[in-house]
């Protein structure tokens, strides 16, 4: 069954030429010279005022990277990246480092206001875009009981974190939320213990590159037994030309802790391709839970496939403790190329991994995304729900791995991935790898035309609702399954996708 009109229109609304965040801000920048060498790394490390051990860590990663070759197995196609033609560091000159909001360049604040990101602690991200003028209002609001939910934001602009909000209040609860650069200086013992423990330095080509040149990202530490009192969020913005953004994020939830973290990303509209190579590591100890959500909206390139961000990302969560849980939710609409597999290593007994994804590709976008669920502990379970929608001349691939190792007694997995094609110039692909080495493992993988059962359709139509509407209704509810996993604040951003129906989906 082909896509219905409503779906086509919804996808059209988020087509590449409708990109809303493509504006560019002129801010005086402090940049590293173009090119990658040990000197570049020393430059970055010095700029960040890093201790010696961190520099050594970076340099050893760089030396390792020189021996690696770019991976070619993903179903994406792009001209060879010239790693010497990129600035590896770019920071607004006026920013003296993460500090109070009053010291931040008002131009920068305007950027975030324009993007609808609240940096004023009294502002609430409820999906409502504040007019730029609102940023001038500096009044602190009272935290009375009637206040809506609050979100702490770490704003990363090119290579630096501009500001992190609600830090003091979070500290009261024992939660550390700051930029990773600050964490390297302030909490070296935690960094030494956890950095690179989930994604090893030599994990893959881009992760190794990131280990050498990462510039900023967020650090979250939730101590034992603490439920993080508010949503944490990082907003990544690429602004400067010819730069690469190398984000590094590390989230640790100690025994019994809980944290929900969201990230958003946008970039200006440019003819050149820009590289975003991130590494995200999550660690959940006994009984801890981490919920990680992404709304990825990097500039996807124009109608003819010119420009756009190359998003080569390694995201991995380690359910290190028993009964721990890590859940990834992503809504992917941006980037020229996406190469991203948020994964869970289910090491602790009874641990659980989840992956919910909606990936919409348009124009000349290429998406190769999915997840890995590695079952190592006993009674571990995982669930994968993935929806891919391709339109225009795009290619959208789901690539996922589910494996149960010898000792993973009673491992359980349920995977469902559906895709929908709109038009005849795009492609949808499904490449699951299912590996069982334990007789008690129970794996189910499903990629079907449509999840709408005849019974459901009959039930709705029988009540006088025309078929197309009935289909839209059922599918709407079905997609909501993924959308609902997003924290409320981001669900609003993702709302425009809800209307997309998947009734004509192919596996």
């Amino acid at each position: 069954m082909p896509a219905v009109q409503e779906t086509i229109e919804q996808v059209r609304k988020i087509d590449v030429d409708q990109y809303k965040y493509g504006f560019e801000t002129v801010i005086e920048m402090d940049k590293a010279p173009k090119g990658l060498s040990e000197d570049t790394i020393r430059f970055i490390s010095a700029k960040k005022d890093e201790p010696e051990w961190m520099l050594e860590w970076r340099l050893s990663a760089y030396r390792r990277w020189l021996t690696l070759e770019e991976p070619t197995w993903a179903r994406v196609d792009y001209p060879k990246i010239d790693f010497q033609d990129i600035h590896y560091y770019a920071a607004p000159k006026s920013t003296p480092g993460p500090t109070s909001l009053d010291e931040v360049d008002p131009e920068l604040l305007k950027v975030y206001a324009k993007l609808g990101i609240p940096l004023r602690e009294q502002e609430i991200l409820a999906g409502v875009q504040k007019p730029a003028a609102a940023a001038d209002d500096l009044d602190e609001a009272n935290d009375n009981g009637a206040a809506p939910r609050r979100v702490a934001v770490d704003a990363v602009f090119d290579s630096v974190s501009v500001v992190t909000t609600f830090k003091k209040e979070l500290a009261k609860a024992g939660v550390i939320f700051c930029s990773i650069s600050e964490a390297i200086r302030e909490h070296p013992e935690l960094l030494k213990k956890y950095l690179g423990s989930v994604v090893p330095v030599s994990d893959n080509y881009y992760a190794t590159l990131n280990s050498a040149v990462f510039t900023d990202g967020s650090f979250v530490f939730v101590p034992k037994g603490v439920r993080c009192p508010m949503e944490l969020s990082t907003y990544f913005r690429i602004n400067e030309k010819n730069t690469g953004q190398f984000e590094r994020t590390l989230i640790i939830a100690e025994e019994g802790a809980y944290v929900s973290y969201l990230e958003g990303c946008t970039a200006p509209q440019r003819d050149e391709n820009q590289l975003h190579a991130a590494v995200v590591e999550l660690i959940a100890l006994d009984d801890a839970e981490i919920k990680y959500s992404t709304v990825q909206n990097w500039y996807p390139g124009d109608k003819d496939g010119k420009g756009g961000i190359y998003n080569f990302v390694t995201k991995r969560g380690d359910c290190r403790g028993d009964r721990s849980k890590i859940s990834w939710t992503q809504v992917e609409t941006g980037s020229a190329i996406t190469w991203k597999y948020p994964s869970c290593i289910l090491r602790g007994d009874d641990s659980r991994g989840e992956f919910y994804s909606i990936a919409v590709s348009n124009g000349h976008q290429q998406v190769d995304s999915g997840t890995k669920m590695i079952h190592l502990g006993k009674n571990t379970s995982s669930r994968i729900i993935s929806k891919g929608i391709s339109a225009g001349k795009s290619n959208n691939t789901y690539r996922g791995q589910v494996s149960a190792h010898r000792k993973a007694t009673n491992a359980r997995n349920f995977t469902q991935c559906d895709s929908l094609l709109i038009g005849n110039d795009c492609g949808a692909h499904t490449v699951p790898y299912i590996e069982a080495k334990n007789a008690t493992a129970q794996f189910e993988h499903e990629a079907t035309t449509s999840k709408i059962s005849e019974d459901q359709l009959f039930y709705v139509m029988q009540r006088g609702i025309p078929e197309e509407e009935a289909v839209a209704l059922i599918v709407g509810g079905f997609v909501r399954e993924v959308i609902q996993e997003l924290p409320m604040e981001f669900a609003v951003e993702a709302q425009k996708l809800i209307g997309i129906s998947l009734e004509g989906s192919v596996g």
């Binding site: 070759e69 094609l421 795009c426 699951p432 790898y433 007789a439 993988h445 035309t449 192919v506 596996g507």
Partner: protein, 421 residues
């Protein structure tokens, strides 16, 4: 450091190249065939595939193919009794086709003859860089059968192609041309005794509206290596039903490459893999839907015991022209032992927007509720397990709609269960 530097040749790689030097002067073929053989051996010199080659991800041939026995002209292989009554048996014994019986409406030619006159040279080309079985076979092929089934011929009784080995090495080929509107049932047997290395390549062109049932039985002894490749191109409204059963071998890779190239073509694949001991068995299918209104369905059932490792890779590719494609694939596995392994990679690659494609894959142990149901009715546990496993596999066989065939395959199944479960 260059990660792609040519690594040192393994013992098996060296043995294959040496075998070619040694065997070259005995291999039949005109100049065109010799050129193909030379090209093919060049491909082998580049080395056997490792798991870094995506098509061989779960079967690291370079590591798994540890020994290559030399061709031994002295080993005596005997033809097998036919699977089905009334069959015409065409045996190839130790790489030599024996005699050519007459079949009404079918031209039967020894492949050796077609190698001598060069008429199979074209088909010996190997375009796919990841393909190893075709070049291996092209380099060493000695004999086989060529069948040409005439237009509109409904072949009387099944035709059984036998490839029987008693150790050593054998490389055979079965090109089959099926005329428009023809009908036939063809059984292919891969069997023998001893630790042989066998490669077998079939090429089918199925004409408009023709209907073919092809039964592939691989029953090699525990020490044998079987590398098979089944290729078919389906014409308009052609229908091919392929049944594959693997019950033996130490290292088995059976490739199935089908192109539903004619509008309205139908392809059905039913597979049963019964794995035991230390066997490594890989069934890899690549199915192209390249014309509109084509239909396919694949059901693969696997039972893994002992330390066996099973692999199923199934790739369905739907061309942008192939609107209204209906493709369904299922791969279900019963993993009965803690030392066994099963890996599945059911892939879809879709470029047309009005199609119905789906796949499902499961790996489980025996359903406890079913077991409980039977045991509650007084069936002892061992017997109940046996019943459930048999039912799991028999379901695939029962769909064949040919009573004598079903009975013959069920007998094979019984025999395997009697010795292995």
């Amino acid at each position: 450091m260059n990660m792609h530097a040519q690594p040192q040749r393994t013992h098996a790689e060296t043995a294959l190249i040496d075998a070619f030097v040694e065997r070259f002067s005995y291999l039949p073929g005109n100049e065109a065939v010799i050129r193909r053989r030379d090209d093919a051996v060049e491909r082998l010199k580049a080395g056997l595939p490792t798991r870094r080659v995506e098509a061989w991800h779960y079967t690291d041939l370079r590591r798994l193919l540890s020994t290559v026995p030399m061709h031994d002209p002295a080993v005596g292989a005997k033809p097998l009794p036919a699977l089905l009554q009334g069959s015409t048996v065409l045996p190839v014994l130790n790489g030599v086709a024996a005699h050519a019986p007459r079949i009404d409406g079918v031209t039967v030619t020894r492949l050796e003859q077609k190698l001598m006159d060069g008429s199979v040279a074209q088909a010996m080309a190997c375009d796919d860089a990841a393909d190893v079985i075709a070049p291996l076979n092209a380099a060493f092929v000695t004999d086989g059968w060529f069948l040409d089934i005439g237009e509109g011929v409904a072949v009387d009784g099944p035709i059984e192609l036998q490839n029987v080995q008693a150790g050593g090495q054998a490389h055979v080929r079965f090109p089959v041309r099926i005329g428009a509107g023809a009908k036939a049932t063809i059984v292919e047997r891969q069997s023998g005794n001893g630790d042989a290395l066998v490669s077998s390549v079939s090429h089918l062109t199925v004409g408009e509206g023709a209907e073919i049932v092809w039964i592939l039985l691989q029953e090699q002894p525990v020490g044998a290596t079987q590398l098979g490749q089944f290729n078919a191109v389906l014409g308009k409204d052609a229908k091919l039903t392929l049944f594959v059963m693997n019950t033996g071998g130490k290292l088995v890779r059976q490739e199935i490459k089908v192109d539903a190239a004619g509008e309205g073509a139908v392809f059905n694949l039913r597979g049963v893999n019964l794995l035991t001991g230390d066997s490594h068995t890989d069934v890899t299918m690549v199915l192209d839907h390249s014309a509109p209104n084509t239909t396919s369905s694949e059901i693969i059932r696997n039972v893994v015991t002992g330390r066996a490792r099973g692999v199923f890779q199934g790739q369905i590719r739907v061309d942008r022209l192939a609107q209204k494609t209906d493709a369904k694939m299922a791969c279900n596995t019963l993993l009965l032992s803690d030392d066994g392994e099963f890996s599945a990679k059911p892939e879809l690659e879709i470029f047309a927007d009005d199609v119905a494609c789906g796949h499902g894959a499961t790996v489980t142990e025996i359903d406890r509720n079913h077991l409980f149901y039977l045991m509650a009715r007084g069936v002892p546990e061992k017997e109940a397990r046996g019943l459930l496993v048999k039912a799991f596999v028999a379901e695939v066989i029962e769909g064949l709609e040919d009573e004598p065939l079903i009975a013959a395959l069920e007998a094979k199944l019984e025999a395997w269960f009697a010795t292995n479960v």
